[in-house]
Subunit: 398 residues, 2 copies
């Protein structure tokens, strides 16, 4: 009688949420500092002080103006400020009219996908990938195909990718810096991807949209360059969120950029507005629309993440763990050291030592665990002897 | 290539938005105080000071805790506080577990509808009604049937309603206090509705859900009682928003209540969680989840609306306009005084006098105009001589 698909989505917790809930219970038994919970991607660094300053300043404005509806696409002044910031940082030429403010990255992706999807359409993404993509694509009536991971470089396996392309292909979803691998797509990868898509657009005679899901854009290490996708490929939706860059995951604030260079960009932007309306979004929360606009140039405070990354990456590799070299985001992707190579088996073993790591199967790339290092430094330091004990246990068995 | 339904929804402005946009342009020409804009339902009363107090207090908390993700269904403490406030005011017995926090009423309705809808289902609502209901019901794959208005009382025409009920009926949507009529459904109406639905549930052998869209619950005049629907009918979703009651329309914060008494309530609540997930909501904005919980018992400041209502209702009826007696919300529903009885014709005539009122056709009840009196008192006072001139013009013509 009710919708069983929705029931299924609501009744099954994700592996990540289950591990996190287990951790909370376990902490009550053995103590807060005896459980090493690396399950969630919830920023441990507080929002920069500029966010609080902006909120306090905004709260001085008359409440009936401050909290009133913005246009569905967002506050015009906030959108203009964000456009100027993006232009300054990435040498682009957007205006506020290219922006559509959203309730975070999940909304950005959902709205973009709904705007362009017709029944029978297919999207393609690249393993390892964020498992909610499947939920959103299927809810829009399309199908998500997965390009298997290139486990050498965690860039794109173009041979495998090209096999999935077909006249049904409506869009491609990429996520760089990547959750869960921590890898950033190189400029070479983006140029190659762009070339393949341009060729296929001509071959099929229709647009192929590239949806760039980039909440981790600002969280990169060692001054690495993250190519700004619309500069390489015109038919790009930029789906952004301030959840990670400004540590505001619970406030649900982000945006979509539809560049003028996109084919039929005015019609696409109208469809984006229509999708937001159909999905019930009305407008993004206005206080935070204005606050993030005032903080558009505030750099992410990633030093603590960089410290955590180095501690954990160096610590684990010294102990003999095989880790993908992290370049961005706040995840370490570690090969299962089990004889079987199984990720679930290793996650279970670690769990017995009160170390909570997420098996990679749901990310479409079996044989790894994701370790979220957006945690207190002490958790990492205290966990290393436990990771050592786990490795010794494994060696004794084999 | 893109989704034409979404394009259609995004490219056509609503009549309301068009009038509002016209008003902004017109004000530039003739002056701010020479345009009497009654088009929008945007609260003119500022949020009560308790909201700012709550926000300032919350901003003292550590940012990494304050702005972090809440569970998908909402912050457990905020939900419990809201449940206790509802219980105090309406003698109910909810716990926080009956609540699912949302990004406002549009999200509340959309998520509730998606949770229960299967292809081929039908929903029924009552004219006059909020036109977005059609968008949301159709986006969930169902059909919305409209019960014609009872233009005597603006309660429910049960004879017409019962003709629309069928085994396909999945749910009923009611909105009381009503936008646009300003009428509140009496206890008699709710009891009668509940009896009809209970009878039909037995006859059809399945649940019929009653979706109570009630953002105007607190905005009622003369101490009128607004029956609390779940006390009369078990299978009720309460869809609430703080947009009007706390004047926070742009912040997008509200909730859904799924009572324990609803059939299969645990499964329904899981489907609500699933629908929120599928639609990309993740969680409601956390700062405002916590702020509205702290203001759960703060009464709406409706004195200014009551003053506006009396001024406008008394003024217009004295001039010979035929108005529906307003009991709640902040709308006056006025019969078109045109000889033809046409709403659009009167709206156009008024527009020539720089009075902006919304023709009722899109609310499914032709022959009326909606006048939003959530405006400055001065706008109402200054508009009365213009309404007088319009009436004299009409009389001279006939």
């Amino acid at each position: 009688m009710i919708n069983e698909t929705m029931y299924g989505l609501g009744s099954k917790s994700s592996v990540i949420r289950e591990l996190f809930a287990y951790g909370l219970e376990r902490k009550k038994v053995v103590g807060e500092d005896k459980v090493y919970d690396f399950s969630l991607g919830n920023p441990s660094i507080p929002a920069p002080h500029e966010v609080k300053d902006a909120l306090l300043k905004l709260l001085e404005e008359p409440a009936e103006v401050l909290h009133s509806y913005s246009p569905a696409s967002g506050d015009p002044k906030a959108k203009q400020m964000l456009a100027e910031s993006v232009n300054r940082r990435f040498e682009t030429h957007f205006s506020g009219d290219n922006f559509y403010m959203t309730v975070g990255a999940a909304a950005s992706l959902n709205i973009s996908i709904h705007a362009i999807t017709n029944p029978g359409d297919e999207f393609i993404t690249f393993a390892p990938f964020f498992p909610e993509y499947t939920v959103w694509v299927e809810n829009a009536g399309a199908k998500l195909l997965i390009t298997p991971a290139d486990t050498e470089s965690f860039q794109i396996d173009f041979e495998a990718f090209e096999k999935l392309l077909s006249p049904k292909t409506k869009g491609i979803i990429i996520n760089s810096p990547n959750n869960p691998s921590g890898v950033v797509y190189s400029e070479d990868t983006i140029i190659k991807l762009s070339k393949v898509l341009c060729k296929k657009e001509k071959e099929y005679g229709h647009t192929i949209y590239l949806i760039a899901d980039e909440p981790y854009r600002e969280i990169v290490y060692d001054g690495l360059n993250v190519p700004y996708i619309p500069k390489y490929y015109n038919d790009t939706f930029v789906c952004y969120s301030y959840s990670k860059s400004l540590s505001l995951p619970g406030e649900r604030i982000g945006y979509i950029i539809v560049p003028d260079e996109m084919a039929d960009s005015k019609r696409v932007m109208a469809a984006v507005n229509g999708a937001g309306r159909a999905l019930g979004f009305v407008c993004a929360p206005v206080l935070f629309q204005k606050a993030v606009a005032m903080c558009a140039d505030v750099p992410s405070d990633i030093e603590a993440y960089a410290r955590n990354k180095d501690l954990l990456y160096n610590g684990l590799t010294r102990l003999g763990y095989d880790c993908v070299r992290p370049q961005g985001a706040f995840y370490l992707f570690v090969k299962s050291p089990e004889k079987s190579g199984d990720a679930g088996e290793f996650s279970e073993r670690a769990k017995k030592h009160d170390v909570l790591v997420v098996p990679s199967d749901s990310f479409g790339c079996p044989g790894y665990v994701r370790i979220s290092y957006c945690v207190a430094e002490k958790t990492i330091l205290d966990s290393l002897p436990v990771f050592k004990a786990i490795m010794e246990e494994l060696k004794a068995e084999n």
